[in-house]
């Protein structure tokens, strides 16, 4: 029991590193993803195709491969610390996953609202930041949290380049103590805990969206659908299924 407690205490710094990694990757990925979403809605065919290609590449590459690509590949050009490599690699991966969500949410802004904004003489930049962005933030938050969960779990891959995040910390405690299983299981429990917390936030966010946009009639159906298919839809979005569909 004492061993369990001691291990838990030793794991906390690792957990903190994992959370920080996920946070910076998300902080990098979301603006990039929003930019990509705007580009995917752009009238310029060339811009759309370039964006589609980039999104498909980073969505199709295993995240571990992207991490290696950045960590080992970019060392020829600049020397990267592990944390920076994780930030870039998972930031780009997160951007690729969120691009579709943003594209679909931007496309869902009613055309009339854009016209109304034009009719009161708002500029393009103002329309993007004051009309489109709030709308997107409202409806895209739950699926974005879904992607954030994937990003958080993905930070465990940083173990492979020797980062001292949660999994790496657990593994090295196990090596030192000659008791591998317990630290690993405790780390797994912590992953489970954070993931569940995020999933709970996702549910809250979904309720909020339902309250903001939903009519009463749809609510019951929406709730039932949520129960069965939340995880399903989350992954569908990440994979570009569901409403996420790239049509150049």
């Amino acid at each position: 029991m004492q061993f369990v407690l001691d291990t838990l205490v030793e794991l906390i710094p690792g957990l903190w590193v994992s959370i920080q990694m996920a946070a910076v990757a998300i902080a990098v990925g979301i603006p990039l993803g929003f930019g990509a979403g705007l580009a995917l809605n752009s009238p310029s065919k060339a811009l759309r195709w370039i964006t589609i290609t980039l999104v498909e590449i980073f969505r199709g590459f295993p995240a571990l491969l992207t991490l290696y690509l950045v960590y080992f590949g970019l060392t020829n050009i600049v020397t990267l610390g592990r944390f920076t490599a994780v930030m870039i690699a998972f930031g780009v991966t997160t951007a690729a996953y969120t691009a579709e969500i943003f594209r679909a949410s931007i496309a869902s802004v009613p055309k009339g609202q854009i016209e109304a904004a034009q009719s009161v003489a708002l500029s393009r930049g103002q329309i993007t930041s004051r009309i489109i962005l709030p709308h997107v933030l409202n409806i895209a938050v739950p699926p974005i949290i879904g992607i954030a969960i994937i990003t958080f779990q993905g930070t465990a891959l940083a173990y492979a380049i020797g980062a001292r995040e949660l999994l790496g910390t657990a593994y090295s405690i196990g090596m030192i103590q000659f008791r591998v299983l317990e630290p690993l299981l405790l780390a797994a429990l912590l992953y489970l805990l954070v993931t569940s917390l995020m999933a709970w936030l996702e549910i809250l966010a979904e309720r909020r969206v339902a309250r903001l946009t939903g009519t009463n009639g749809n609510r019951v159906r929406a709730r039932r659908r949520n129960r069965v298919g939340r995880q399903l839809r989350r992954d569908d979005r990440a994979l570009g299924l569901a409403e996420a569909r790239i049509t150049p």
Partner: protein, 215 residues
């Protein structure tokens, strides 16, 4: 430079892990989906618990636990087997949802209709329910299989000699990292892009079908 012969060898191992994990996850997912569709709250809880644990823990943590932490005989000794079991467990949670969503998508009226013309349970399942549910299942299962394929890369960390393992070692002995990893990435894209297109095509077909039924 990477040697094409080695790439093919790595690809062969990658495909073994992919298909192996698909089989393991299918075997696990069917009872999980059944548990979650029963009326018994205890059984439903068990099913939900399995799904929660299977996907709440990162795939790489599963592999490390199975390979380094547990002593499951041959499974914990052969990296490819450990990867097949670990990734199979993770994917079973997703696949279980696909199966559930597929069965849920068949309206109750279809079963009632089958009962009204005195079909037995077996015929109802195989002649009425499954033909409608399978396309729905396949659409999302195909999408999940892409995630699974990408996750096979993790097996390299426990020493399975698949695609990424080979590229990683080639880079260690002097191959250009940018070029090597990118080339391997293209091999993955050669699978993920077509499967993604199939999944989207199935998805649109299924949706169109559902709309027709609904109206």
């Amino acid at each position: 430079m990477l040697d094409p012969a080695y790439i093919l060898e790595g690809l062969w191992i990658t495909i073994q892990i992919w298909f192996g994990a698909l089989i393991v996850s299918t075997v696990l997912a069917i009872p999980v989906a059944m548990l979650r569709r029963t009326k018994n709250p205890g059984a439903r809880f068990l099913g939900a618990l399995w799904a929660w644990i299977a996907r709440g823990i990162p795939p790489i943590a599963w592999l490390i636990i199975i390979f380094f932490g547990l002593s499951l005989g041959i499974i914990s000794a052969v990296p490819v087997l450990a990867a097949i079991v670990g990734l199979g467990i993770v994917n079973s949670a997703y696949l279980g949802d696909s199966i559930r969503a597929g069965l849920d998508s068949v309206p109750d009226g279809q079963r009632e209709g089958a009962a009204s013309v005195a079909l037995n349970r077996w015929d109802t399942l195989f002649r009425v329910v499954l033909p409608q549910a399978v396309p729905v299942m396949l659409a999302s299962a195909a999408a999940y299989s892409i995630t699974l394929l990408k996750n096979t890369a993790i097996a390299s960390i426990i020493g399975a000699n698949e695609l990424v393992f080979y590229a990683y070692n080639a880079v260690q002995v002097g191959a250009d990292p940018l070029l090597s990893f990118f080339t391997i990435g293209l091999v993955y894209l050669a699978f993920t892009v077509p499967v993604g297109i199939i999944a989207r095509w199935l998805d649109t077909r299924v949706r169109r079908g559902t709309v027709k039924v609904a109206h």
